[in-house]
């Protein structure tokens, strides 16, 4: 548990070390590049949209990693949000996209609060496994109560209206795509700010010293619950976007593999890194789709080997490698400037 979370740092976002402007510029370029995908590579739009939805959910797992906790059941909130949207559309045909999103987030927040109140009493492996248990209980409910949930086939989520307008498929896909980008930027920015804020910094001390936290007059359980709620909401936003993008929700949304995939992506991108969550999700989705197309049955093995290499040689994930390159570039520029003087 701590092996995965040990590379996260509480300080990274309080005072970001070196080259923040270059990092911000690269982030801006990446966002602009993503926004141009429907024009320059329309065939990639759906794939990128799924990656963005997944990335927002991974951000939720990333939040918990900052407190040194790994959840193997966060797909629960991803799924609850997706089903909440699907049930809303079933009972209120033609509901607006914003309503679907709100219903999903409310569902995720409420379930996050209920599950959170219980799991924040535990740490490490028990925390991870209890989350897994809750997600699998929900998975069983979805599978068994087929007359309500549609069983393994799931439920269709018809296209919601957008500000009262019923859009064609391509128009709706464009709206969802740009909404996903806006949410990625907005929630990513908010999470970064939250990490650097007093409440976010206090949350991250769960990883290093709960005794001192108690002796600061704070309840470690309540502190962990605040971050748990945020992580559940982020997973909920991701689940809602995924459901609207795919147009159908199935129990696979809460299946344990989905939860493990979120942890996998978080570690791949850089455990605890906000940007890493999205970069990890993009790389994961691209590798998954193309490797499964060209490498048949061995694509999971390829991904596994890739993760092994990352853990062994770049424990701070892809973002760690990128930061290293940025720093090296910055140092080289500084040296050149020094020599030029």
């Amino acid at each position: 548990m701590s092996d995965i979370s040990r590379h996260t740092t509480a300080r990274g976002d309080v005072k970001s070390g070196g080259m923040p402007s270059l990092r911000a510029l690269l982030t801006l370029l990446a966002v602009l590049l993503l926004a141009a995908v429907p024009f320059i590579a329309p065939s990639m739009q759906l794939l990128i949209n799924l990656a963005l939805a997944k990335g927002i959910a991974v951000l939720g797992v990333t939040v918990l990693l900052r407190a040194g906790q790994v959840s193997f059941g966060h797909a629960l909130f991803f799924g609850i949000s997706a089903y909440a949207g699907a049930f809303l559309m079933a009972s209120l045909p033609g509901a607006d996209l914003i309503l679907v999103l709100i219903a999903g987030v409310l569902g995720a927040a409420l379930s996050g609060l209920l599950v959170g109140l219980f799991v924040v009493r535990y740490r490490g492996i028990f925390f991870g496994m209890l989350n897994l248990a809750f997600s699998m209980i929900f998975w069983s409910i979805l599978e068994k109560f087929y007359h309500v949930t549609g069983g393994a086939d799931g439920i269709r989520l018809p296209r919601p209206t957008v500000l009262g307008m019923a859009l064609e498929r391509s128009g709706f896909e464009a709206v969802i795509f740009y909404l996903s980008i806006a949410l990625m930027v907005g929630l990513g920015w908010f999470t970064l700010r939250w990490f650097a804020s007093p409440v976010g910094q206090i949350f991250q001390t769960i990883k290093t010293n709960e005794t001192r936290l108690e002796y600061l007059g704070l309840s470690p359980k309540r502190v962990l619950l605040s971050g748990y709620l945020l992580s559940a909401i982020l997973c909920g936003v991701g689940g809602s976007l995924m459901a609207m993008t795919q147009g159908v929700v199935t129990p696979e949304y809460v299946w344990w593999v989905r939860s493990a995939e979120m942890v996998f992506i978080a570690v791949l991108g850089g455990a605890g890194s906000v940007r890493g969550a999205f970069i990890g999700a993009l790389i994961y989705e691209i590798v998954r789709v193309y490797a499964s197309a060209y490498a048949g049955d061995i694509w999971q093995m390829l991904l596994g080997a890739f993760l092994l290499v990352i853990i062994l040689f770049a424990p701070k994930g892809i973002m760690g490698i990128a930061d290293g390159l940025i720093h090296r570039g910055g140092k080289r520029r500084a040296t050149t400037a020094e020599e030029a003087r």
Partner: protein
């Protein structure tokens, strides 16, 4: 002795314990401990290892609950309260092994403490920009640690960590500070210097302190009053001079420390 306020009514002591009892297995760590701690003094607790000194601090701060007996803070029964609620009533704690946030800098540890004290909740405000930053820098200055403000805690020496641990507790603006061996782990050549800094900081903040100490030189120089612990209870209490010259203390405590 019980102080009286202007109205003439008896003012309860800052901290009072009545008949505290606790056993760990066959060992009695608190054996009917009744004592009062008046405000404005530095009380040293001395005694042989295993006498129950740390247990006393743990009970007073709610970390462990006594089998029987009660703890009062200015007359309020705080025995059933968890540590965090006792802290919020003005009792802070510094530890034998400093309890700090090791991934944060010295200053950030203090800022987090200030944020906890003030209940700061704004998710968009940077920890470094909180209004209490100057106050925390002053506190770092009080404990002579300004030069390590931006150093991550794991990079600090044991003595610096001890001082930061105490500063983190002081950042809560407590009325009473309980410290467990504030100079242990500090190089013997620096112990008095550390204690000078500490006592000065306590005096400036107007904080009453209780500290467990094994170094009798420190006790003689820096305590206003000394309580001698033995077999889970207060054996003697008096001024440093009275206590350190007492034959029982010389035999049971000082003799053991020298040995």
């Amino acid at each position: 002795m019980t102080a009286t306020n202007k109205a003439g009514t008896a003012k309860p002591p800052l901290l009072e314990t009545r008949e505290l009892m606790i056993k760990f297995g066959g060992v009695t760590a608190a054996n009917n401990v009744s004592m009062q701690i008046e405000a404005g003094r530095n009380l040293a607790i001395i005694g042989p290892n295993g006498a129950g000194k740390t247990t006393f601090l743990n009970i007073c701060t709610g970390w462990i609950k006594p089998r029987s007996g009660k703890v009062f803070l200015e007359g309020e029964d705080i025995t059933p309260l968890p540590p965090r609620k006792i802290v919020r009533r003005g009792v802070a704690r510094a530890f034998q092994i400093p309890q700090l946030f090791t991934e944060h800098t010295a200053l950030e540890n203090l800022l987090i403490s200030a944020a906890a004290r003030e209940g700061l909740r704004n998710p968009l405000q940077n920890l470094h920009n909180i209004r209490q930053r100057d106050e925390m820098m002053h506190l770092l200055d009080l404990v002579h640690c300004t030069d390590v403000a931006d150093r991550v805690v794991v990079e600090l020496s044991e003595g610096q960590r001890k001082l930061i641990d105490i500063a983190v507790a002081l950042a809560l603006k407590p009325r009473l500070l309980l410290m467990d061996e504030p100079t242990s782990g500090v190089a013997s050549s620096q112990k008095h210097e550390v204690m000078e800094i500490l006592v000065g900081a306590l005096a400036e903040a107007g904080v009453t302190s209780v500290f467990v100490e094994h170094d009798m030189g420190i006790v003689a120089r820096h305590a206003d009053e000394v309580a001698v612990w033995n077999a889970g209870n207060v054996q003697l209490r008096g001024t440093p001079q009275e206590i350190l010259e007492h034959p029982d203390v010389i035999r049971d405590v000082i003799g053991e420390e020298v040995a």
